[in-house]
Each structure stands twice: as structure tokens, then as C-alpha cells.
């Protein structure tokens, strides 16, 4: 925890991120290039899904990152409310749209995959529905943090919302599962049966690592921008 407190100062964070960002960006680009080669060329088409299985290499990591991103928002919210870390507010403001973006990518790629596989862009499957609700929780967070004339007020309101949301997410997930089994039996194809063949699993994990780096990169970049923006606003107020 001591290290996290060390990072709580925006100036210190900024110095550190400036040092890390170029190499992180380079690593992300190189890993993405190789990951795309693995996913699009090297891996074989699935025996049932054909080439559409390649959508999964983006879809599944996006879903993981969208969920992890909300966890990050809640952790940042707790850090803001408990220790009043100024950086936590800026990072939450920076990471919420990134998480929402991955959530949207997950929903869109899921729709594109669902059309040839299930015959429909959208079905009211429990997983899809809870992902959609997660997307709305993200939108609420983004809208609330930007709804005030004083940004600090929006930051703290959004922090409370993130904590309430993270408590509610399991309840929402459970109730949507219940609702779906009540209305219709699950009739969806599962990815490659019980186990995933290594020829699919390796590109999947590689792409997950790549998109994780991309997530970190975007959050760091946007946090830097937020620090600059907050400084500019304060400078305008003072002059």
C-alpha cells in the first residue's frame, strides 16, 4: 500500500508515467502486431464456427477488461473517499470511458459473432443482458462525474456510485440469470465445447495480454491529460 500512497501525488505520477509511456506504447504496438498475426493468420479456423471464431480473440478479452475496469473504478472510488487521493479522482475520470469502450466493443463484436452463429444480432441471454447493464452503469458513472460545475463534487459522487455499483453487480448478475432461466432455457452454443484447444487458447491469451496493455496505456495517457486539464482549469481560475 505504501507504494500506492507514493503514487497519489499527481506530479510524481506524471513524472513516472512520462518515463513509462513510450516503452509501453511500443510494447503494445509490437504485441498487437504479433497478436493479430496469431489470431488472423496463424490460428486455424474452428471446426464448427469457421473463421468467425476469430472475433472471439477481441470479444473475450474485451469482456474481461470491461469487468476488471469496473473493479478498478470501485477501487479508485474507495481510494478517493477513504484517503482523498487526488490522483484517484483523475484516474477514475480517465478510466471510465476506456472501460465503457471495451464494454461497447464486447457488445458489438458479440452482435457480429451472434448473427452468423445464433442467427440474431441480439438475444436476451443472461450474459448479454448483464453486460448491457454493466455498460449503463459505466454511462451513469461517466455522466455523473461530468454533471457538476465543480469537478471535485462530480468525482466524489461518481466514487460513491462506483462502490454502490460494484456491490450491486453480483445481485444484478444473479437476478438476470434467474430471469433468463425463468423465461427461456439457455440454448446457446458454447465456445468450442468443454475445453479450448491450444491453437485457439494461445492467441486468445496473447490478445488478452495485449489488450490489457492497451487498457493500461490508454488509462495512463488519459490520466496525464486529466492532470493537465485540471492544472489548466486551476490556472484559469487563479489568473
Amino acid at each position: 500500500m505504501a507504494d500506492l500512497h507514493f503514487l497519489a501525488s499527481p506530479a510524481r505520477f506524471r513524472r513516472l508515467s512520462q518515463r513509462v509511456l513510450p516503452s509501453l506504447a511500443l510494447a503494445t504496438v509490437l504485441m498487437l502486431a504479433f497478436g493479430l498475426y496469431l489470431a488472423l493468420i496463424q490460428s486455424p479456423p474452428d471446426y464448427q464456427q469457421g473463421d468467425t471464431v476469430r472475433i472471439m480473440f477481441v470479444h473475450v478479452p474485451s469482456a474481461w477488461l470491461a469487468m476488471a475496469g469496473y473493479g478498478l473504478l470501485a477501487a479508485l472510488g474507495a481510494s478517493l473517499l477513504i484517503w482523498r487521493h487526488p490522483l484517484a479522482a483523475l484516474m477514475a475520470r480517465a478510466s471510465a470511458p476506456v472501460g465503457a469502450g471495451f464494454c461497447a466493443v464486447c457488445l458489438l463484436t458479440g452482435a457480429l459473432w451472434g448473427r452468423p452463429m445464433w442467427g440474431a444480432y441480439w438475444v436476451w441471454d443472461a450474459r448479454l443482458t448483464s453486460m448491457l447493464l454493466l455498460f449503463f452503469l459505466y454511462l451513469g458513472h461517466i455522466a455523473l462525474s461530468r454533471a457538476y460545475d465543480e469537478p471535485e463534487r462530480g468525482d466524489r459522487a461518481a466514487a460513491i456510485l462506483a462502490l454502490v455499483g460494484v456491490i450491486n453487480l453480483p445481485i444484478i448478475k444473479f437476478s438476470v440469470d434467474w430471469w433468463n432461466t425463468l423465461h427461456q432455457p439457455a440454448s446457446v452454443a458454447r465456445l468450442g465445447g468443454p475445453s479450448i484447444h491450444p491453437s485457439i487458447l494461445v492467441p486468445l491469451l496473447w490478445m488478452a495480454a495485449t489488450l490489457f496493455l492497451l487498457f493500461v496505456l490508454l488509462v495512463l495517457l488519459r490520466t496525464d491529460t486529466e492532470i493537465d486539464r485540471r492544472r489548466l482549469e486551476n490556472a484559469e481560475v487563479q489568473s
Binding site: L81, L133, F136, L137, L139, G140, A143, L144, A147, Y148, D149, R153, G154, R156, A157, I160, L161, L163, V164, G165, I167, N168, I171, I172, F174, S175, V176, W178, W179, L182
Partner: protein
């Protein structure tokens, strides 16, 4: 505890002197509900099939509609500052406000829903079940809505934002509320649905007052 009762009584008195505010909410509930037969068509078995979901959704919207003034009036006239300075917990004050909101919206909605259910051709026992689910479920809506109202206090365009924040969090209550009524038709376990609905209300009762108080403290700063 006398402070709690006093605050509830004060809110009820305020509503009593301006009954139009509650009447508008109930009128909205009725109008929103009767739009569905007009939009879908008067086919009796279709209406009976969708009645529980329609009435629950309309009740949810009506409850949210009345929430944006829950703390705003107190914020404007300085009552909220006094509550923040008062020697008893702000959490209790938040709970009292939500309690008063439930008495003036949740209760009338639960009473009115069976009457509207008649127009959807529901059987008597389903009407009773509908009232029971709304009675157990609407406290959760008042508490979650109260949290959304506290979070959006002083925000730009707070009304639409309030709905965006509260609706995803109200999904479990909607699912089990409408599901309970439907379980009567499909032969499901009505008691289990009511029990989960009550559990959701208790979880909201145990958690939201703290979150509302935290949000109100920020608004007062």
C-alpha cells in the same frame, strides 16, 4: 428516534399541504399504464400476459419521477444544512426522507395497481399478489432512488441523470417483482419470489442510508 418520526411527519405534512404533487405522480402511473393496451391492442390474453411487467415498469417510472425533488427543496431552503449540523446521524435523516417518500408514492402505487390490473383482466388472486409484490418491492425503489437523488443533487439535468443512475440498480427488484406475479400463472414458487424481493429491500435498507448520507455530506460541503 423522535427525530426520525419528526422528520417523517414533517415530510408528510409538506405533502399534505400540496397534495397535487402526489396526484401528478399517480396520474402519470395511470396514464403510462393505459398507454400499453392502446399501443398493443385490446386482446385480452395478451394483456393479461404482460400486465405484471407493464404495471411494475410503470410503477418504477412513477417512483423515479417523484424523486428529483426529494432533497432538492431541502437543499435550496437550507434544511439540509441544518440536518448536516444536527447532533443525530445523517443516515437516519436519509432513511426518514426515503420512508416518507415510500409512504406517499410506494403505498398509493401498490393500492392503485390492482385497480389498473382489473382493466388488464387479471384474476382476483393475481391482483392481490400484484399489490403484495409492490408493497414489498417499492421500498427498494425509494431507497435506490433516494441514493440517485442525493448523488445528482445540484447537478445539471439532474432528472434524466437520476433515471440513468437508478434504473440499472432497480433491475433486480423489477425482475423479482414482475416474476413473482408471473409465477402464479406458470406455477412457480410465489413465496420464494416474495422472500427474495424482501431480501433485496433489506439489503437496500442496510446499505443505501450510508451511501445517501455520504452523498449529502458532499452536497453540503
Amino acid at each position: 428516534m423522535s427525530g426520525f418520526a419528526g422528520l417523517v411527519a414533517r415530510d408528510l405534512r409538506l405533502v399534505w399541504r400540496r397534495p397535487g404533487d402526489v396526484a401528478v405522480v399517480l396520474a402519470f402511473f395511470v396514464v403510462a399504464t393505459i398507454l400499453f393496451p392502446l399501443g398493443i391492442g385490446p386482446e385480452a390474453n395478451v394483456l393479461a400476459r404482460i400486465a405484471a411487467g407493464v404495471l411494475w415498469c410503470a410503477a418504477l417510472f412513477a417512483a423515479l419521477l417523484s424523486l428529483d425533488r426529494l432533497f432538492a427543496a431541502d437543499h435550496e431552503d437550507g434544511t439540509l444544512d441544518l440536518l448536516l449540523l444536527a447532533p443525530w446521524p445523517l443516515e437516519l435523516a436519509a432513511l426518514a426522507k426515503c420512508c416518507a417518500h415510500w409512504i406517499v408514492t410506494g403505498l398509493p402505487l401498490a393500492a392503485l395497481a390492482p385497480v389498473l390490473g382489473v382493466t388488464f383482466g387479471l384474476e382476483p388472486r393475481v391482483l392481490w399478489a400484484l399489490a403484495a409484490t409492490l408493497l414489498v418491492g417499492t421500498p427498494t425503489l425509494s431507497l435506490i432512488g433516494g441514493l440517485a437523488a442525493a448523488l445528482t443533487l445540484g447537478a445539471r439535468k439532474s432528472g434524466a441523470l437520476l433515471a440513468l443512475l437508478a434504473l440499472p440498480l432497480c433491475v433486480p427488484t423489477l425482475i423479482f417483482g414482475a416474476g413473482a406475479v408471473e409465477s402464479l400463472a406458470t406455477g412457480g414458487d410465489f413465496g420464494a419470489h416474495i422472500a427474495i424481493l424482501a431480501a433485496l429491500a433489506l439489503v437496500a435498507l442496510a446499505t443505501t442510508p450510508w451511501a445517501i448520507a455520504a452523498a449529502l455530506r458532499q452536497a453540503g460541503e
